[in-house]
């Protein structure tokens, strides 16, 4: 037999932290991919530009060398070659002066027959007035090497800065959006759960969009409302229970006291219910209770309140002027005593009713219910003592 080791406490990590941590790696991957593609594209663009620049440099300097070489002015030609060698993109220059029969080399230059992509060469050709070509020299320029790595390294800092800025903006934006869309609704949800109340307490302002979280909170609200209803109502008859009765009665008493009115509390106890329950079973008993509850609602006004205290006890709270207490009690008694058609046949129950008047007989629900209960008890005793019809 093995004993499960106590599980280590789960580390707490906020959704936002998880969101950021999971977002970071895709972003870094995206940056690496973007930087690679940028470097590659940049290399091709830069190479094309470099090729053009190299060709232009070669052509321009070859052109500028034509006159001095044609004039056999070696000093000027050397000066031009030296200037060329100073260019940042140039590693070395070799100039062959046909007139002087010399070749001057500045910097590092590959041999003429080397297949070096960074070595560009051209003859320096003078064309006279008649268009005849005279080769007066030969110019070779060795350019600094150019590679993907050098291009990438040139733009790396810039790209890192851009990526850093983008990352900061994305994370800050994500934090704000996360807080707005998830963080705050979750906090409201949590508060609602802790307070045992719906998230959308009153008629909620319709959200702009329904999302998954809205679905969850609405489902939660439905659940809370149902639980609330079950906590305040009798599940069998759907009448209010004692909680509802006491709240309603307290309000009615306050209104009566405030406005100088009055009202009645009627406590009903069914007569003959227990034998039905015992004889025909709980299902028939429940049916009888449901029927009685429905009839009581029908026999009272819409402003009156009917509650079930439990078992076969019902309470009616009637506010305001009445046709008369005795009429009310008679109407209620008739409604209860009507035969009930059930699967077990026609059934009959009676009722003993005790009444209390408020605020005269009491200003609390407890006092009034006790008063009504005493009256009801007396009525029941009276029935027992009276000879049966």
């Amino acid at each position: 037999m093995t004993v499960a080791a106590p599980s280590a406490p789960v580390r707490r990590r906020t959704l936002h932290a998880q969101f950021v941590r999971r977002l970071l790696w895709p972003l870094v991957t995206a940056f690496v991919l973007a930087a690679s593609v940028t470097a590659l594209v940049g290399y091709h663009a830069e190479k094309s530009e470099q090729d053009t620049q190299r060709a232009q440099t070669l052509a321009i300097f070859a052109r500028s060398l034509v006159k001095p070489l044609w004039d056999c002015d070696g000093a000027t030609a050397q000066g031009i070659a030296d200037t060329l060698a100073q260019l940042p993109i140039v590693r070395g220059v070799r100039l062959q002066d046909v007139c002087a029969d010399t070749a001057v080399e500045t910097g590092s230059v590959a041999a003429p027959d080397t297949a070096d992509p960074d070595l560009l060469q051209t003859p320096v050709v003078h064309r006279d007035e008649q268009g005849r070509a005279f080769t007066v020299g030969h110019l070779a320029i060795q350019f600094h090497p150019f590679s993907v790595a050098s291009t990438a390294s040139q733009g790396l800092l810039q790209q890192l800065a851009i990526f850093g800025a983008m990352l900061a903006v994305v994370l800050a934006g994500a934090a704000l959006v996360f807080r707005s869309i998830i963080g705050r609704p979750l906090a409201r949800f949590r508060e609602a759960i802790l307070a045992h109340r719906p998230v959308h307490e009153d008629a909620p302002t319709p959200a702009r969009f329904a999302d998954e979280l809205t679905d969850v909170t609405h489902a939660y609200d439905e659940l809370v409302r149902e639980l609330r209803r079950l906590a305040r109502h009798d599940p069998l008859t759907d009448l209010g229970n004692r909680v509802v009765l006491e709240e309603h009665l307290a309000s009615a008493i306050e209104r009566a006291v405030t406005h100088g009115g009055h009202g009645y509390v009627l406590l009903l106890d069914l007569d003959g219910f227990k034998p039905i329950n015992d004889t025909h079973g709980h299902a028939v008993g429940d049916f009888v209770l449901q029927t009685v509850a429905r009839r009581l609602r029908a026999a009272t006004r819409g402003t009156d309140m009917v509650a079930r205290l439990g078992g076969d006890e019902f309470v009616i709270v009637a506010e305001g002027p009445q046709p008369g207490l005795s009429d009310l009690m008679a109407r209620v008694a008739r409604a209860v005593e009507e035969p009930i058609a059930s699967g077990a046949g026609l059934l009959r129950v009676g009722t003993s009713i005790g009444a209390a008047r408020f605020p005269d007989d009491g200003r609390t629900s407890l006092a009034l219910l006790m008063h009504a209960d005493e009256a009801m008890y007396a009525a029941k005793q009276g029935k027992r003592r009276a000879p049966k019809a």
Partner: protein, 295 residues
């Protein structure tokens, strides 16, 4: 260097070479210097070839400075040019890398130099009498010209400029970089001054000074078998036209000796050429040199 009259060997070469183009492919084609101020020299070359009985077609050589011209002809890319004798050319002749016909195409007038200067400075040389006086002025010459060495040897400060053939040195005179730009007397009066004034009307000729030094324009021929017959024909032809007087007739069709007025009020300053003197011109041609030095 060969300054002797046409030798027997040259005559044989002439006969051999001259006969070849006629029998084979018509007149021989040669690349010959051709510049506007050398019309007389080119005409004399043609006259000499005609006198020697050689038919030839000329193609113009590309234009360049003296260094380029010397390179072109010493490499055989130009076959004939008519340039002043310089130490470099004479050295190549001695080395057998260049050939010359030492006939003074300008009759020695090339060494008679007058100065071009700005019109506003026309009187600047009015009081110059000696070389020492002239040394107070800055002269300009083209890069590579031998004149530079002659003037410098005489103590006259001389600067080399790259562009001159259209009078561009006038801009450097206005900038204060140059004072004078000397050229040959006859070529200046007959050709250069009117040519320069087309673009630079502010240029004029100094009326006070005439500088002279031994300075001769010869005919130069590229080395090699390609020009053997040409060389021989020119040697023989020039001998012939000098002897029969047609040299002077052809020359007179293009050039004129300076008028006596040119010398009026001009101070003549003779300076030596440190590289050669009049003996460079063979005795048989020396009578061609203009001897007049005073009106």
């Amino acid at each position: 260097m060969d300054t002797r009259p046409c030798s027997r060997r040259a005559a044989l070469a002439l006969l051999a070479g001259a006969s070849l183009p006629a029998h084979a492919a018509g007149p021989a084609a040669f690349v010959v210097q051709n510049e506007p101020h050398l019309a007389h020299a080119r005409a004399l070359v043609r006259a000499a070839l005609q006198a020697a009985g050689m038919q030839a077609e000329f193609t113009d050589a590309p234009r360049g400075n003296e260094r380029r011209n010397l390179f072109q002809i010493s490499q055989g890319q130009t076959h004939v040019d008519m340039m002043p004798a310089t130490p470099a050319r004479l050295r190549l002749v001695q080395q057998g890398r260049l050939r010359m016909v030492p006939v003074p195409l300008d009759r020695g007038l090339l060494g008679w130099r007058i100065n071009l200067l700005l019109e506003t400075h026309k009187a600047r040389l009015a009081h110059v009498r000696t070389v020492a006086d002239l040394a107070h002025f800055s002269m300009g010459q083209n890069v590579g010209w031998m004149d530079v060495e002659i003037y410098r040897a005489a103590g006259i400060p001389t600067k080399e400029v790259k562009r001159w053939s259209d009078g561009e040195f006038a801009e450097q005179m206005e900038a204060g970089f140059l004072d004078l730009f000397p050229l040959g007397l006859e070529e200046t009066l007959n050709y250069f001054l009117p040519h320069f004034r087309k673009r630079y009307p502010q240029l004029t000729v100094d009326p006070y000074i005439l500088v002279r030094y031994p300075w001769f324009r010869f005919v130069w021929i590229a080395p090699g078998p390609r020009t053997d017959a040409l060389h021989a024909a020119l040697l023989a032809g020039f001998d012939r036209i000098v002897a029969d007087g047609s040299f002077l007739q052809v020359w007179a069709r293009h050039r004129q000796p300076p008028a006596p007025e040119v010398f009026k009020s001009r101070t003549v300053i003779d300076i030596p050429n440190p590289f050669y003197d009049q003996t460079l011109v063979p005795e048989r041609y020396r009578h061609l040199l203009v001897q007049q030095d005073r009106p």
